[in-house]
């Protein structure tokens, strides 16, 4: 049995990267296809908050922002309690394909870090946790 760590999808879209980028990074776009509404603070370290009419919300912390090619963020693992420190890393990559765009979304980290590391990070100060998250992203990126 393989522990699923990574989900990957590729989507061929007829629209150019700029239009797809807007759908991924504006409140109007995200509040249409992803959530039912969205608030966007578009900068590295900024937050995107998605809300659904069901009452669910998700807070995304932006880690990579390279318009109109890469959007990376971390968010809480779906289905785990709100206060669980584990997060997955999601990266949208936009590549021009003729007049359109090939959009790739990769979510990774479902099987990421040992419990103990999380506990250490969570018990430390906020700055420590932010550093840990930076390292997590770097690790998932293959930079560590």
């Amino acid at each position: 049995m393989a522990f699923p760590d990574r989900i990957e999808r590729t989507l061929d879209l007829a629209q150019p990267p700029e239009r797809v980028w807007a759908a991924l990074t504006t409140a109007e776009g995200l509040g249409t296809w992803f959530g039912n509404s969205a608030e966007v603070d578009l900068r590295v370290g900024g937050r995107i908050t998605l809300a659904w009419t069901s009452g669910d919300t998700a807070t995304l912390t932006i880690e990579r922002l390279e318009p109109p090619a890469v959007l990376g963020y971390t968010w809480a693992i779906y289905g785990l309690p709100q206060d669980d420190p584990r997060r997955t890393y999601v990266e949208f990559t936009l590549a021009p394909a003729g007049a359109g765009t090939t959009l790739t979304v990769v979510e990774s980290g479902f099987a990421q870090l040992p419990e103990d590391d999380h506990k250490k990070a969570f018990d430390g100060n906020t700055g420590g946790w932010t550093n840990e998250l930076g390292e997590l992203v770097a690790y998932l990126d293959g930079r560590l």
Partner: protein, 109 residues
């Protein structure tokens, strides 16, 4: 915890909980708190012997932990750590990207 260990933990959780009697025992401990095999036998329509056998298996999978005590008075409590590993596994299966991405494609078009 290495990836292969996590796989082994998830495997044990799913195997242990595939049995309806063991699910019932774990559910009883989760909702009612620590209990002895005798306590559980009084509450569930299962013999004490059968409960003891299942508790041994659940303890091997570390889904329950035996508190120190005299043999017949040992209380068992739920250990959430392996469930959290199994939850991580389920989270990956439950993540729905296909729905939102289909909507994205529609909205753009």
């Amino acid at each position: 915890m290495a990836g292969s260990d996590r796989e082994a933990v998830a495997q044990e959780v799913f195997t242990a909980l595939a049995d309806p009697t063991r699910r019932e025992i774990v559910a009883a401990l989760a909702s009612g708190g620590p209990a002895t095999a005798t306590d559980l036998a009084a509450r569930l329509p299962i013999s004490r012997q059968a409960i003891a056998k299942h508790l041994t298996l659940l303890a091997e999978a570390e889904l329950v932990i035996a508190e120190p005590g005299e043999r017949r008075r040992v209380r068992f409590r739920v250990n959430s750590a392996p469930m959290k590993v199994a939850q991580q596994f389920l989270a990956a299966l439950a993540r729905d990207w296909d729905g939102p991405l289909a909507t994205l494609k529609e909205t753009l078009g």
